[in-house]
Amino acid sequence: MNEHPFMLAGAQLSALGSGALWWRDQSLLCVSDLHLGKSERIARRGGGQVPPYDTRDTLTRLGADIALTNARTVICLGDSFDDLAAARALPEEERLWIAQLQAGRRWVWIEGNHDPGPIDLGGTHIAELPIAPLTFRHIAQRKTSGEVSGHYHPKARLSLRGRSISRPAFLYDIDRVILPAYGTYTGGLRSHDAALDTLMRPEAHAILTGAVPTCIPMPR
C-alpha cells in the first residue's frame, strides 16, 4: 500500500498518499474535512456556480480508500459537510452512495465547526471519540496527547532547485497528528502559519500527500 508509517502514543499509524489516515490494528480509516456539498453552498450564497462535481469526486476517492483497506471503521473527522443546509440538500443519488459506503462497517461522523449539528444520514454523530490510546476530534486542543484532528487543512511547501511544490500534508509530533483536508474543493493553510507553528512541537514532521507520501521536517 502507498503509505508512510509513523507512531503516535504507541499506535502504529499510516499516512496514505490520498490524505486518509489508516490504523491497521483497528482496521480504522480516518478522513477529515470532506466539505461535501461545497459547490451547492457557494451557489446558494451567490458566490458563483462552480462545477457541481465535488461531492461525487470526494466520494469516489473515499470509496477507493475504503475498498483498498476494507476498513471495519470509518471516521469522518468533522467538517464532513460544508454546512448543515448542504448536508440536507444532498441529492438522493449521493445519499444512497454514502449509504452504500457505510454498509457493513461502523461509521462515525465527528462534529466540526461547519457541521455542528446532527444530520439525517446513517452512522454515529459524536463530538469526539476516544479509542485508546487515541482521541479523535475536529479541532486540536493544547496539552493533549494521542490526538487525531483536522480543521486546519495543513499543507506544506518545499522549494526544489528553483521550483516549488505545495501539497496537502499531515503534520505530526509525539502528541498529535493533524490531517490534511480530504474534500475535493478544499484549499490549504501553510505549515508556516502561526496557528500551526505554535501548535506543533519544534521537531514536528510534515508528510506530503501525493503519489508517494513523503516525510520532511515541518516547514516553518
Binding site: M7, P52, L189
Partner: protein, 817 residues
C-alpha cells in the same frame, strides 16, 4: 470644408499655430458614423479627435454628456484632461471636462452619474462599470461622440473587445452616436477600422503625414555580443557613452527582469553619476510616479524601462531611444521609436542593441523592415467568449434584458459579427445556470427568465459581485515587497507569488534597481532588507517573453539566403559563413533539421522559426512523439527560431515526427494536464465570472477556505470535458501561450519539405542553443524523484532521519501481519 469658428482661429493665431490638414479633415467629417485617424505621436492627434466636439460645445446649448473619451491608461486620461483644459480655458468655452478612473473618489463618481460633465475621460473598465448601473440610459442620453485614443493598443487585447461590446450598448441607447478612433502607425488599419465601426457600417481611415523617416541604426561595439543570453551587459560602456551625448535617453527592454539587471549593471559602471532612473510595471506606484515626475521636469538623463512607457504620454524632451535586445516585433519597435523627438517634423533617433549573436541578424532584419515601412502583426480571430459572458452579466446587472436584442447588439461588434446564435445562447446559459451537463443549480440560478421573456438576476444583490469582477486585465498573483521596519517600511514594488515561493530567508534579488535580501513573509507582504552585495543570488522575477513575429522570422530566413552579408558585423557574417560551410542555412519553405552527437547524447535541432512559444510547444509535442517511437528523448530547449532536443538514440528519419494530425492528437492529451491551460483557465474563468477576482482582502481572510482554480479545472476535465469554459480555455491557450497557430503556419510553409542533415559535430548555428537557459527535462516521475531527493536531504540535515522510520519500503513492524 467646415470653417473653424472665429474664437478657435484667433486662439490658433495667438499660439502661432495653424490647423494641421488632418485636424481640418476630422472637422470636415464630423458627421461620419465612424472615423479612424492614424497619426504619429506629437501630430496633434488628440486635438484632432476633440475638435468637432469643442466646436459643437462652444455654442453652449448642450446639456449633459456630449463626448466620451476612452484611453487605455488612467494616467493618459489625466494627461489629456490637462491638455484639453488649456485651450478650453484660454478660449473661455463653456465646457466641463472631468476624468473618471479607478482612482476617482467615490463621491465624485456618484455626482458624475447624476450630473455628468460635457466631456468624460475614462478607461474601458470604468466605462463597462458605468454601463452596469440601472441609471446608465439616463446618464448617456444625449451622448454624441466617442473618442477612443491609442486604439491600436486596445485593439490587441480583450480590453478592446470589452470596450467595443460596451459601445454596442451605448449605441443602442444613442443611435446617432459617432465613433472616432485615434491610432499610432499600424500594419493593418482596416482591421482596426472594422473593430471600431458598428458592423457593418463603413469606417473611413484618415492618414496624417507620417513625418520624416526615423534615424535608426544598430549600435556597434568593439566587443562582439555573446553567443546567448539577453542581458547585453557587453554594451554598457557604449550605452553610457550615448547617454552622455544626448539630453534624455529612453532605454527599452523586452522584460522587467532584463531591465532590472541592466539598470543594476549600468549603475555599477556609471562613474559620472549621471541621473538615471528605472520604470516598469512591477514597481510601486509611488516610485513610478517619482520617476515620471523627474522625467517631465527633465531631471533625468536616462530611463531604463519596459512596455509600461510604451503609450502616448508626453514624457518631455526625449532625443534618443535605445532598444536593448532584438525588438521581436517591428510594429512595437516603430511605436517605441516614436517616443523620441516630439517635434512634428524632426526625425526620431533610435539605436538597436542586440543582446547576442543571433539578435544581430534579427536587429538588421528589423531595421530593413522599418525602412521598408513593413509592419507585422497577426489577425486577432473571433471575439473571445469569456468577455462576452462578462458582458451578458454586466447587462443583467443594469436591469432585465431581452436575449434577442442583446444578441443583435453583440453582433454589431466587428469581432463578434460572426458569432452564431447557438454560441451566444451557450454563453447565456453559462451565465444563467453554470452550463453544466449535470443540472445542479436549478434553485440557485444566477439569471432567471421572467414570464415576459426578459432575463434578470435571480438575486439583485449579485449585481454588486458582478461589478466588482468587471475587467479583463489579468493580474497575476503578486505580493507587495516592503523594506522590513517596525511599522511597515517603504514599499518597493511587487513580485510574482510563484517567485516569492522559491525564496528562502537570506536569498538576494533585484527590485527597483537595488539588491535586497529576503527576510520573510508577513501577511502577504514580502519583507526585505537592503543588501550591499554586488551580485544578486537569484537573478530576478519572471516576466513575459515576447515571441519574434512571423514576419520578422521570415525576414531573418530571407537574409540567410544572401551570398554574403555586408550589412552584418564580421563576427556575425563569419559565423553564418561557417554554418553554410559545415551544415546549411535554413531556407524559406523548407524545414532544416540537424542531428549530431554531442556531450554523450544524440542531439536534434529543428529550425522551425515558429517563435519562442511555438518552438516550446513543438519541443513538448516532438519529445512526446519521440517517446512513442522509442527514441528516448531526455529534454529540450527552445528559442524563437529552433528547438534543440537531446536523447539516447539518433533520429534517422524525422519526417514521421512531423505528421501534423499526429502532433495535434498529441496536443489534445498533452494540453489537458498542462500548466499553461490551467493558467489560461484561471484567467478566462475569472473574466467569465465563474470565479471571483482575487482581491487582496479576500486572500488574507480566505485562508484555508479558498481553493485553487486548478482544482476546478481538473474537476471539469474529469466530469464535464465538453463544458463551455474548457472550450474557451482551449481556444485561448491555442492562440496564446501554446501558440499552436505558429506550428500550423510552419507546417503549411514547409509542406513536408524537410532537409535532414546528419553531422559529425555541433553546427555553428546550433552552438548558442547549448548555452540557453530554460532547458526542459522530459519527465513524468521527475517531480516525485526531485521531491524524494530533497526530502532525504532535509531529513539528513535536520538530524531527524535517525529518529524516524524509513520514509519508504516495507516497515519492519508489518512482518508479523
Amino acid at each position: 470644408m467646415r470653417a473653424l469658428p472665429p474664437d478657435f482661429t484667433d486662439w490658433f493665431t495667438t499660439k502661432g499655430w495653424s490647423i494641421h490638414p488632418h485636424q481640418q479633415a476630422m472637422l470636415d467629417r464630423a458627421d461620419a458614423p465612424a472615423l479612424l485617424l492614424i497619426a504619429p505621436t506629437g501630430g496633434g492627434k488628440t486635438l484632432a479627435g476633440f475638435l468637432p466636439t469643442l466646436v459643437d460645445l462652444a455654442q453652449g446649448d448642450h446639456d449633459g454628456l456630449h463626448t466620451l473619451y476612452i484611453s487605455p491608461l488612467k494616467a493618459l486620461a489625466a494627461d489629456i484632461k490637462r491638455n484639453l483644459t488649456t485651450p478650453v480655458t484660454e478660449m473661455g468655452l463653456p465646457i466641463r471636462i472631468e476624468d473618471r478612473t479607478g482612482d476617482t473618489p467615490a463621491s465624485r463618481k456618484r455626482r458624475q452619474r447624476a450630473d455628468p460633465p460635457h466631456i468624460l475621460l475614462t478607461t474601458p473598465e470604468s466605462l463597462a462599470l458605468l454601463t452596469s448601473y440601472e441609471d446608465a440610459p439616463r446618464m448617456f442620453s444625449g451622448l454624441k461622440r466617442v473618442v477612443v485614443d491609442e486604439i491600436h493598443a486596445l485593439a490587441e487585447s480583450k480590453r478592446g473587445d470589452q470596450l467595443m461590446l460596451a459601445l454596442s450598448r451605448l449605441q443602442a441607447m444613442c443611435p446617432d452616436l459617432k465613433r472616432v478612433g485615434l491610432s499610432a502607425t499600424v500594419e493593418d488599419p482596416q482591421a482596426i477600422a472594422r473593430q471600431l465601426a458598428r458592423h457593418p457600417d463603413p469606417c473611413e481611415i484618415l492618414l496624417a503625414d507620417p513625418g520624416p523617416a526615423p534615424d535608426i541604426s544598430m549600435l556597434t561595439t568593439e566587443e562582439a555580443p555573446p553567443w546567448s543570453g539577453g542581458g547585453a551587459a557587453y554594451a554598457i560602456p557604449a550605452v553610457l557613452a550615448e547617454v552622455r551625448k544626448h539630453k534624455t535617453t529612453l532605454i527599452f527592454h523586452n522584460t522587467r527582469a532584463q531591465a532590472e539587471i541592466f539598470f543594476h549593471n549600468l549603475w555599477l559602471a556609471n562613474d559620472d553619476a549621471l541621473p538615471i532612473g528605472i520604470h516598469h510595471g512591477s514597481l510601486d506606484r509611488v516610485q513610478r510616479e517619482r520617476v515620471e515626475g523627474a522625467m517631465v521636469r527633465g531631471d533625468l538623463r536616462a530611463i531604463v524601462c519596459t512596455g509600461s512607457l510604451d503609450l502616448g504620454i508626453d514624457w518631455g524632451d526625449v532625443d534618443l531611444v535605445i532598444q536593448i535586445g532584438a525588438p521581436k516585433n517591428v510594429k512595437r519597435l516603430v511605436q517605441r521609436i516614436g517616443r523620441a523627438n516630439h517635434r512634428y517634423n524632426a526625425p526620431s533617433k533610435a539605436l538597436l542593441v542586440p543582446a547576442n549573436r543571433f539578435e544581430v541578424v534579427e536587429c538588421v532584419a528589423a531595421l530593413d523592415a522599418v525602412l521598408a515601412g513593413e509592419l507585422d502583426g497577426d489577425p486577432r480571430g473571433p471575439g473571445p467568449r469569456d468577455v462576452l459572458c462578462q458582458h451578458i452579466l454586466i447587462a443583467a446587472a443594469a436591469g432585465p434584458f431581452d436575449a434577442d436584442a442583446l444578441y443583435g447588439q453583440v453582433t454589431t461588434v466587428g469581432a463578434y459579427a460572426a458569432l452564431s446564435r447557438a454560441q451566444f445562447d451557450a454563453c447565456l446559459d453559462f451565465c444563467a445556470t453554470g452550463g453544466y451537463a449535470l443540472r445542479a443549480y436549478d434553485k440557485w440560478k444566477r439569471l432567471v427568465l421572467r414570464p415576459d421573456g426578459q432575463w434578470q438576476l435571480r438575486d439583485p444583490r449579485s449585481a454588486r459581485d458582478i461589478r466588482m469582477n468587471i475587467g479583463t486585465i489579468q493580474d497575476t498573483d503578486t505580493l507587495k515587497v516592503r523594506l522590513k521596519r517596525n511599522r511597515g517600511g517603504k514599499p518597493l514594488g511587487e513580485i510574482e507569488e510563484g517567485f516569492a515561493a522559491t525564496l528562502t530567508p537570506g536569498d538576494t534579488f533585484l527590485i527597483g534597481g537595488q539588491i535586497v535580501r529576503y527576510e520573510g513573509l508577513r501577511e502577504m507582504t514580502v519583507e526585505v532588507s537592503r543588501n550591499a552585495a554586488k551580485k544578486p543570488k537569484i537573478a530576478t522575477f519572471m516576466g513575459t517573453k515576447f515571441a519574434t513575429s512571423t514576419q520578422l522570422s521570415a525576414r531573418v530566413v530571407e537574409m540567410f539566403q544572401q551570398d554574403s552579408w555586408p550589412d552584418l558585423p564580421p563576427h556575425t557574417s563569419d559565423w553564418l559563413g561557417l554554418q553554410r560551410k559545415y551544415s546549411q542555412l535554413p531556407r524559406p519553405g523548407r524545414l532544416l533539421i540537424e542531428s549530431f552527437p554531442h556531450d554523450g547524447r544524440e542531439q536534434t535541432v529543428v529550425y522551425g522559426f515558429a517563435g519562442r512559444n511555438g518552438q516550446q510547444t513543438l519541443g513538448l509535442l516532438l519529445t512526446k512523439r519521440m517517446e512513442e517511437m522509442g527514441l528516448d528523448p531526455l529534454g529540450f530547449v527552445a528559442t524563437d527560431y529552433a528547438t534543440l532536443i537531446w536523447g539516447l538514440d539518433a533520429v534517422q528519419d524525422p519526417a514521421p515526427l512531423f505528421d501534423l494530425d499526429a502532433l495535434k492528437d498529441g496536443l489534445d492529451t498533452w494540453l489537458a494536464g498542462n500548466a499553461v491551460m490551467k493558467r489560461t483557465f484561471r484567467a478566462s474563468a475569472t473574466i467569465a465570472g465563474l470565479i471571483q477576482r482575487n482581491t487582496p482582502s479576500a486572500r488574507k481572510t480566505g485562508r484555508q477556505a479558498t481553493f485553487s482554480s486548478d482544482i476546478l479545472y481538473d474537476t471539469l476535465q474529469k466530469y464535464d470535458p465538453d463544458h463551455l469554459m474548457l472550450d474557451i480555455t482551449r481556444q485561448e491557450a491555442l492562440r496564446g501561450l501554446v501558440d499552436f497557430g505558429r506550428i500550423e503556419e510552419m507546417a503549411r510553409r514547409v509542406k513536408g519539405r524537410i532537409d535532414h542533415l546528419r553531422l559529425r559535430r555541433v553546427s555553428p548555428l546550433s552552438a548558442p542553443m547549448f548555452l540557453e537557459m530554460g532547458r526542459v527535462p522530459v519527465k513524468g516521475a521527475a517531480e516525485e524523484r526531485l521531491l524524494a531527493e530533497e526530502a532525504a536531504r532535509l531529513m539528513e540535515q535536520s538530524g531527524l532521519s535517525q529518529i524516524t522510520p524509513a520514509a519508504s519500503g516495507t516497515p519492519r513492524w508489518r512482518a508479523g501481519h
